[in-house]
Amino acid sequence: MTAVPRYFSRTLLRSSIISLWSAVLFLPFKGLQASLMLFGVLFLLILLLTLAGTWVSPRLTMAAAVRERMHRHLPADRRYLLLFLLPALGVPFIAQNYIIDVAVLAGIYIILALGLNVVVGYTGLLNLGFVAYYAIGAYSFALLNTRLGLGFWSAMPVAVVITTLAGFLFAVPALRLKGDYLALVTLGFGEIVRITLNNWDSFTNGPNGIGSISAPTFVGISLVTLSAYYYLVLFFVLVAIVVIGRVQRSRIGRAWIALREDEIAASAMGVPSTMYKLYAVSFGAFWAGIAGCLFAAKMRFISPESFTFMESVLILCMVILGGLGSIGGVIVGAVILVILPEILREVQMYRMLALGAGIVLLMIFRPQGLFGGRVVSSRH
């Protein structure tokens, strides 16, 4: 009998603390009245959500059982592909340019987030400077294109190799560190790369950035139209999903996840831990390199401003939001975090605030991410 009121009062306390905190955060921006309103709305919302959650969760388990049965009939990567491909293929036919533009951006972020997911989600190495690889990929591509005149399909492989190598070379000394220390060093690496790009005027053109990057071509046709570019990005997204999914369900992916779960036990099973961490970081950097090239070729102009620490945080949020280690979850996380700011255009200045509040709410209500839960999926 006492359990119910105690549960209720705990819920009350929790919702009031969260909404009070959000209201205080908003106070300097919108004044007292708006903050009070926010408090009221959030309070009721959280309360309702929690109560609804207790009602829904047993039913969710039932839904999970159904899903489980579905999973057994479809191998993991094909399942995501179908789910993703059908609507994705149609986008240019039904949407306006603005939406296709957002979709292209989402595609680039999906590739980035999938790459970071290999490092953070599978291998468990927290990286706060992932944007560095994105930047290296974009700048290598831009420089190869504008200085040496290499076209898209020849500049891209070179840029990706450079990025992968950069990932590898940086990881060699960094991996001597563990946990929080490693996270800090990666953060530092991200900043070093950005500051270098910003200050090395003679090579990178400094804060002015590099312009007039040529558009990609395909069998002689220039892919200048937005829909053509959309399909190019979609192609790379699909490649990323299939390749990363397959690597995950192999001895390499198993070794990564084992390292995350328990490094000592993994080495006792014969997994060379340093080597596999190096693999993971280089493999992650590889995808960031591809995303960087796509970004540079899309924008036709890049500058250090696009590669700030906040960008690293954003990519990390995509990975965490969807659920560490789950390919489908990461895709949804990336899509949400690209679309959300577009919807919230009017409240642009609260974007970061909303993002922060959202992540905090997520950590409270679903610490495993929206779609996390079963992280490992080498099941058939």
Binding site: R251, E261, D262, I264, S267, A268, M269, G270, V271
Partner: protein, 254 residues
């Protein structure tokens, strides 16, 4: 020829002499027990044997190779696998995935075959899963194959750890207190399983406190006390060794 030769191995942690000048050798397909009071240095000896710590002095020769100073993963690939006193499973992975990880070094799929899913790759993956399942059956865990390893009851976790060591393909298996926290029924089951492991042609070293268990299973026993080997022999010899009795019961007891 002996499978394992330990010659004058010592490990000091600063001033602490965790083990001091330990020597013994071990024949193939035998079960050896290492016993001794708490803090005697048993786990430290295992850590030296498996490359988790580097001995201060001494050499360890396994199957003709001097492995002193090798890294832990390399030692495992050479054929020594261990369990841990405080169980170390991959808690978030399923039971069968735990055993699949253990086969890491026994398979050779490269990145290209993984990405293109060649026939050989698929065949390898199928056999990895099958082999994993066989080891689970061997340890009586087949019904839990798809459960999360972290959710298993304690005794089953210990058995899963052993299944994992077997799956590495190692010929020498080191078990650190395999019956700790088990009830008498489970302990009896464990004794039979370890005997079966010897029947597979593997060699086993067990650290164990349960004397009935040790006397019932061992071909040979090594006794450590304060980091020093104080006795070695057949169970009968150890049972009546005054030094051993003294180490366990104190000087006044006899």
């Amino acid at each position: 020829m002996s499978l394992l030769d330990i010659r004058g191995v010592s490990k000091h942690f600063g001033g602490i002499r965790a083990i001091e000048d330990i020597s013994f050798s071990l024949k193939s397909s035998t079960i050896m027990s290492i016993i001794g009071p708490n803090g005697a240095g048993k786990t430290t000896l295992f850590n030296c044997l498996t490359g988790f710590i580097k001995p201060t002095k001494g050499t360890i020769v396994f199957a003709g190779t001097d492995i002193s100073g090798f890294s832990a993963d390399r030692v495992t690939r050479l054929g020594i696998a261990r369990t841990f006193q405080n169980i170390r499973l991959f808690g978030g992975m399923t039971v069968i995935e735990n055993v699949m990880v253990a086969q890491h070094a026994t398979i050779r799929s490269n990145l290209f075959s993984i990405i293109t899913r060649t026939g050989t790759f698929k065949e390898t993956e199928r056999s990895v899963r099958e082999t994993a399942y066989e080891y689970l059956e061997f340890m009586g865990l087949e019904s839990a194959a798809e459960h999360t390893a972290g959710s298993l009851p304690y005794g089953a976790q210990r058995r899963l750890e052993i299944a994992r060591t077997l799956a590495t393909g190692a010929s020498l298996i080191l078990l650190d207190e395999p019956t700790a926290g088990m009830n008498p029924l489970e302990t009896d089951g464990m004794m039979q399983m370890i005997k079966n492991i010897r029947e597979m042609g593997k060699t086993v070293i067990i650290i164990e406190h349960d004397m009935k268990f040790v006397m019932g299973i061992s071909d040979r026993i090594v006794v450590l006390d304060h980091g020093v080997k104080i006795a070695e022999g057949m169970p009968k010899e150890i049972k009546n060794n005054p030094l051993v009795i003294e180490a366990y019961l104190g000087k006044e007891a006899h």
